[in-house]
């Protein structure tokens, strides 16, 4: 594969804050009328002045530390000047020199299966502009409406070095970043537009293009894949890839040019004198001390403390909610078995249904794992219980086990049937011993008949095999 060079700029809404970046307006605007969460400050009315939300800076420092960045002694805000209808002041309050955090790194699993550090260039704070609602697609809209509810939402822009080598790695980086942000309780990724990505991409030897404002991780992967194909084909046709800004059209799944380098902005950055420089060095120790355990550390601890495989530990720690769920279950049931059942079964069943772990009871999970550990239930039975609980068939594991006859008593009946069937099927046993794996199917059929189809064929097959092996 040709060398692909990708760098990302990720705009993260620090949406776990209650108020906006420079005013007291609530950040909880997602279900509100357009332009109802506004005030003179976030509307940029003449004469209004920004007042910095200190908590937002605290959140920013938290993230900076979690990304292994250096936190600057003093941080400054700048004005980034440009005209756009979503920007009511004609400038965006952002950072330029002396950003909050610089030079960090986080680890991802590379396409080669090896974990490696992706360098972070900087993380700086800025205010979100309003939201444009186009009538149609961006390049063909007849008119556009503006909603300023989002205006002034606290954003953290995380800029990576061009260390990513494929759309998949870009996705892995974003997953990891999201995981860290949720661990820090500064970010809720379930809200629309909470994370928006600009991606810079080039093929070796070519100019880079920037794809702006992609929402959704799948979108990033798709946009990058499309852009690689486009640039590759340009090269094959001997057309020069020009440096430009492109937009990802989610409906058509292609990128379209919106601005060439010739028309590039000069943002005329200069210090925002309505805010004063902020000495943040002294804030750092307390914030650092209060940092929660982060995904990589938790994963390591799970391996050591619960004796888990690295894969299970990784699967359980990628989402803080899953990790917390697991630890709650592991406190009441055998940890290793709990890990298998949560990572391999429960997560799969949830994914399949597009559900999150919030809706599943920790107590139920612990109950299921304990029944498994005590041999009161078969593996197939346990899967059945999980599915029934998720689909609202039954109120508790006990109740489902009882009503469906998945319990130990039934289990004994199956065992009995297996023993009888093996004893009655000397020919088949002999065939099996002679090397015919298929001979077992005959015995399984006998058992199924004896149990009137109540037993699970997979489980029966396993039991029959074990019984025959004993002979």
């Amino acid at each position: 594969m040709e060398d692909v060079i990708i760098g990302l700029e990720i705009h993260v809404q620090l949406n776990r804050l209650r108020s906006k970046m420079f005013c007291g307006c609530s950040t909880d605007y997602h279900n509100s009328e357009p332009n109802s969460h506004t005030c003179p400050v976030c509307l940029g009315l003449p004469g209004s002045l920004p007042v910095l939300n200190k908590k937002a800076v605290e959140f920013g420092i938290k993230v900076g530390l979690a990304l292994n960045c250096t936190i600057e002694e003093e941080t400054l805000f700048y004005r980034k000047n440009y005209y756009y209808p979503d920007l009511p002041k004609g400038f965006q309050i952002s950072q330029y020199d002396f950003p909050l955090a610089t030079r960090g790194h986080i680890m991802i699993l590379g396409d080669d299966g090896v974990e490696r550090d992706i360098r972070i260039n900087r993380a700086h704070m800025e205010e979100d502009p309003g939201r444009l609602v186009h009538a149609g697609t961006i390049d063909r809209a007849k008119y556009t409406m503006v909603d300023y509810n989002r205006c002034g939402m606290p954003l953290l822009e995380v800029v990576t070095e061009p260390d990513l080598r494929s759309p998949k790695e870009a996705r892995a980086f974003l997953d990891k970043l999201k995981s860290i942000l949720e661990y820090l309780e500064v970010f809720d990724g379930s809200l629309e537009g909470s994370m928006r990505v600009d991606a810079n991409i080039s093929l070796k030897g070519g100019d880079r293009t920037e794809i702006k404002n992609i929402s959704g991780f799948k979108g990033v992967e798709k946009a990058l894949s499309y852009e690689i194909t486009r640039q590759k084909n340009m090269q094959r046709r001997n057309i020069k890839v020009v440096q430009e800004t492109r937009h990802f059209d989610e409906i058509r799944n292609i990128t379209v040019s919106i601005r060439s380098k010739v028309g590039a902005h000069d943002y005329r950055y200069f210090p925002e004198c309505d805010l004063v420089g902020l000495r943040i060095a002294s804030w750092v120790p307390a914030i650092k001390a209060a940092l929660p355990e982060l995904p990589d550390a938790k994963r390591k601890r799970f391996v050591e403390q619960y004796n888990l495989s690295d894969d299970h530990a990784k699967s359980l720690t990628s989402e803080i909610k899953v990790a917390n769920f697991y630890e709650a279950v592991a406190a009441r049931a055998p940890p290793k078995l709990a890990a298998v059942w949560i990572a391999d079964v429960l997560k799969g069943e949830l994914n399949y249904r597009g559900r999150t772990i919030d809706g599943f009871s920790q107590e139920h999970m612990a109950g299921i794992v304990n029944m498994l550990a005590e041999g009161k239930i078969t593996e197939d039975g346990a899967v059945q219980v999980i599915r029934d609980l998720l689909d609202g068939r039954g109120s508790s594991p006990d109740e489902i086990v009882k009503s469906k006859g998945l319990g130990k008593a039934e289990d004994d009946a199956v065992q009995k049937a297996v023993r009888e069937a093996v004893a009655e099927s000397a020919d088949a046993v002999a065939d099996y011993k002679a090397g015919s794996e298929r001979a077992l199917n005959f015995i399984v059929g006998v058992v199924m008949k004896k149990t009137r189809g109540k037993a699970s064929p997979g489980e029966v097959h396993r039991l029959v095999k074990a019984e025959v092996e004993k002979i």
Partner: protein, 470 residues
């Protein structure tokens, strides 16, 4: 003055007083007011007459510069681009005034977006100087100064970015104070150059200025640059004995009108006679102040005025085209030539490749100028000099020569660059036109500035002189 006015209002009628002012304004040829809040003001006056209340400014009418936001009253910076904009909120100073019972009587003319020293760049046409109707009142708070000097309002608020309160106070023969940067909240003041400007009073006496400062100064959490703490200015200490006054060498000599220089020296002699001592000091970077000031002010202005795109408020021109064309047309039509000049120059100064050469260099000069003042204030308590190098000039005389207009700000802009407080008090006449004495103090030492100005005023009669137009 205001103290006596309050007594009068209590024994008489605020409604009568205000009605007479409105009548006078209607017949006036000053063009000082741009709009009157007749209904709400008279209503408030009637309420005062029924129940005067305890506010320190209860029943006192006040005129407000066009760039200070007043809820429900059009606030347009004397610019076409903001015509029709009615703020949904009051500036901090307006809230403070209202809380003390003051009556907002109307808005006053100014240079467009406070860009000028003559009030000629207003979209409402020039304001006239009550001492000579053919002359400018100074600027940019020319409307506020003219209506106070002309007896159309007992007091007013202006704003001072590079001399915009002191210049018109000097030209119109009244008192004007530019407070220490951070002393008065800028919340609601429509920004021209936000790192330089302060709201300040324009009054007939120093005591009135102190009274207004008591009301408008103080911490406001909505302005991050607003200083902590509450200071008191009344009663003003009288006497200047023991006070050491510095006379900056650079504030006299070439370019200073002889009669202005004489009037200012007379004032210094008067202060010496009252017990102060003086010595010559040097503010060596004064010659670079104008250049630095204009680079900084225009750079900030280019950004501050970017929000006026007609999308949410202000001027709109019939049919909309695409975004870029629409806002460009609105700005082309809405801004006057001086605002455009400053936006263009400021945009240029901040551009990639020029930022270091202009803006950063200007910031360095600003630091040097501030250090000039700090050094001088190690030896002296106050600095004294002319507010303006010239008396009021004729309307139209300099409007086509922006550079000569900019040069007239030579003694006022260093004060804004340094952030120190300065007052202009009437100290004599050049011909028939008033001359202002500028007294400059240490950061947050308005008390000493007011003390010297008040003592000087008590010993002289200049503030009692009224222009004949009245």
């Amino acid at each position: 003055m205001l103290m006596e006015l309050r007594e009068q209002l209590l024994s008489g009628s605020a409604e009568d007083y205000l009605s007479k002012l409105f009548l006078k304004i209607e017949r006036s040829s000053l063009n000082g007011f741009t709009s009157l809040a007749r209904e709400s003001a008279l209503q408030q006056a009637r309420e005062f007459d029924k129940n005067p209340g305890k506010g320190r400014l209860a029943g006192v009418p006040i005129a407000i510069k066009e760039c200070i936001s007043t809820k429900g009253i059009e606030t347009n910076c004397s610019s076409n681009i903001l015509r029709g904009y009615i703020p949904p909120y009051d500036a901090h100073v307006i809230q403070q005034l209202k809380a003390e019972g003051a009556i907002i009587m109307g808005k006053t003319n100014m240079d467009e977006f406070a860009m000028g020293s003559s009030t000629e760049t207003s979209c409402f046409g020039p304001t006239r100087n009550p001492w000579d109707l053919d002359c400018v009142p100074g600027g940019s708070s020319g409307g506020s100064a003219a209506v106070v000097a002309g007896g159309e309002a007992p007091c007013a608020l202006g704003s001072d970015t590079g001399g915009s309160v002191r210049c018109p106070a000097s030209f119109c023969g009244i008192v004007g104070l530019k407070p220490t940067y951070g002393l008065v909240s800028r919340y609601g003041l429509i920004a021209y150059a936000n790192s330089l400007e302060q709201i300040g009073p324009l009054t007939r006496t120093v005591e009135d200025t102190a009274l207004l400062m008591e009301v408008i100064a103080g911490h406001d959490e909505r302005d991050t640059t607003s200083a902590e703490g509450k200071r008191s200015y009344l009663p003003i200490k009288e006497g200047v004995s023991g006070l050491k006054i510095g006379i900056p060498r650079e504030y006299f000599g070439e370019g200073v009108n002889k009669e202005v220089e004489r009037a200012v020296w007379d004032a210094i002699n008067t202060l010496e006679g009252l017990g102060a001592t003086w010595k010559e000091v040097s503010l060596p970077h004064t010659k670079h102040a104008l250049a630095a000031y204009y680079v900084i002010a225009m750079s900030e202005a280019s950004s501050n005025l970017a929000r006026f795109d007609g999308l949410r408020y202000g001027l709109r021109l019939g049919e909309d085209k695409d975004w870029h064309t629409t806002f460009s047309d609105i700005r082309a039509k809405g801004f006057g030539p001086e605002a455009k000049r400053r936006i263009l120059l400021g945009t240029y100064a901040l551009s990639a490749g020029y930022y270091g050469r202009y803006y950063l260099k200007a910031l360095k000069v600003r630091t040097l100028i501030k250090e000039d003042f700090l050094r001088a204030f190690k030896d002296v308590d106050l600095l004294a000099g002319p507010t303006m190098p010239i008396p009021a000039f004729r309307i139209g005389e300099r409007i086509n020569d922006p550079l000569s207009l900019y040069l007239a700000d030579v003694f006022t802009v260093p004060i804004n660059l340094a952030g120190v407080p300065a007052i202009s008090v009437p100290c004599g006449f050049a011909g028939h036109l008033p001359v202002g004495l500028q007294l400059i103090g240490r950061h947050f030492d308005e008390a000493t500035v007011l003390q010297a100005a008040h003592t000087f005023e008590k010993a002289t009669f200049f503030h009692e002189k009224m222009p004949e137009v009245i």
